[in-house]
């Protein structure tokens, strides 16, 4: 490999890095939004309610439930297919959402919530 070729390669690498730094520093964002990046949504359990009670997410997004009440709660699939187990005050539970979800608190059966998957 010639010295010229080597230094040209190095130089172009340097240019690319420089361009990258410039683009990042000017707040440039790629034209096409990254639709694949999963988002984390927070559902707060507060005053005996899931807030928000109804949530719309993209497939693959994460929902995190946080118990802000003084009493324990849980997050249980409506047909009891799975459960978070008991969440004491300030405890959190996370789940990747791949399909529509109806859930309730098995300790306070009148507390209900849902997550709907919407693709766009």
């Amino acid at each position: 490999m010639s010295l010229f070729y080597k230094s040209a390669t190095l130089f172009s690498c340097f240019l690319v890095v420089l361009l990258g730094i410039f683009l990042v520093s000017t707040g440039f964002k790629p034209e096409t939004p990254n639709t694949e990046a999963p988002v984390t949504h927070v559902v707060t359990i507060h005053q005996m309610k899931f807030d928000p009670e109804k949530l719309v997410v993209k497939k693959g997004d994460v929902v995190q439930w946080v118990n802000k009440d003084i009493v324990p709660h849980d997050v249980t699939e409506i047909n009891k297919k799975w459960t978070s187990k008991i969440l004491e005050k300030d405890a959190k539970y996370k789940k990747v959402i791949t399909e529509n979800l109806n859930y309730f608190c098995s300790l306070h059966v009148i507390m209900k919530g849902s997550v709907t998957v919407k693709n766009h």
């Binding site: 005996m48 309610k49 003084i70 300790l107 009148i110």
Partner: protein, 178 residues
């Protein structure tokens, strides 16, 4: 036997409601130390009913409900005790606490006399009536009369918990009476 139990349950409900309304109208003046005492006693009474249910009921829904009552009312008591400890207040016995305890004694006797499905019904009916009476007392007497802001705030935190229990008890009641 069933009808005697039923009428006893209703008699206690009516007495409790009269007592609750009476408190609201005559507005017995309670200081914060007395309000804290009422809060602890009222929660402890429901824990004690739940413990009877855990001893006697084989109905999984009734047992799950009773477990929730034990966990939640314990959590409220813990908060109340933490608050009075922080404020340096000693909960103070009073007429409202006394009347709640006297009523609870009669209800306990009635519950312990019942068995099987009759017990489940008596327990759940009483839970509906008791939570309604306590909610009325918290709204009508305890919150308006509490002077300390943190005590008032704690009572306001307890209210939606009691209301959720009432909704849960009513749901269990409608299933049991089917």
């Amino acid at each position: 036997m069933k009808t005697i139990l039923k009428s006893k349950v209703w008699a206690s409900i009516v007495m409790l409601l009269i007592a609750a309304i009476g408190f609201a109208q005559q507005a017995p003046q309670l200081n914060d130390a007395e309000i804290a005492h009422v809060a602890v006693v009222a929660n402890q009474i429901d824990i004690d009913y739940a413990k009877i249910a855990m001893d006697r009921s084989k109905n999984p829904e009734v047992r799950e409900f009773a477990q929730t009552m034990i966990a939640d009312h314990n959590a409220i008591i813990e908060q109340a005790v933490a608050l009075v400890t922080k404020l340096g207040v000693e909960p103070q016995d009073n007429a409202v606490s006394q009347s709640l305890l006297k009523q609870a004694e009669a209800t306990t006797k009635m519950l312990k006399a019942a068995k099987g499905a009759a017990f489940d019904k008596a327990y759940v009916d009483n839970e509906v009536a008791y939570h309604q009476a306590v909610i009325d007392a918290v709204k009508g007497v305890l919150i308006p009369q509490s002077q300390n802001a943190e005590l008032k705030a704690l009572l306001k935190v307890a209210l939606p918990i009691l209301e959720t229990h009432l909704g849960h008890a009513k749901m269990a009641q409608s299933k049991i009476s089917k």
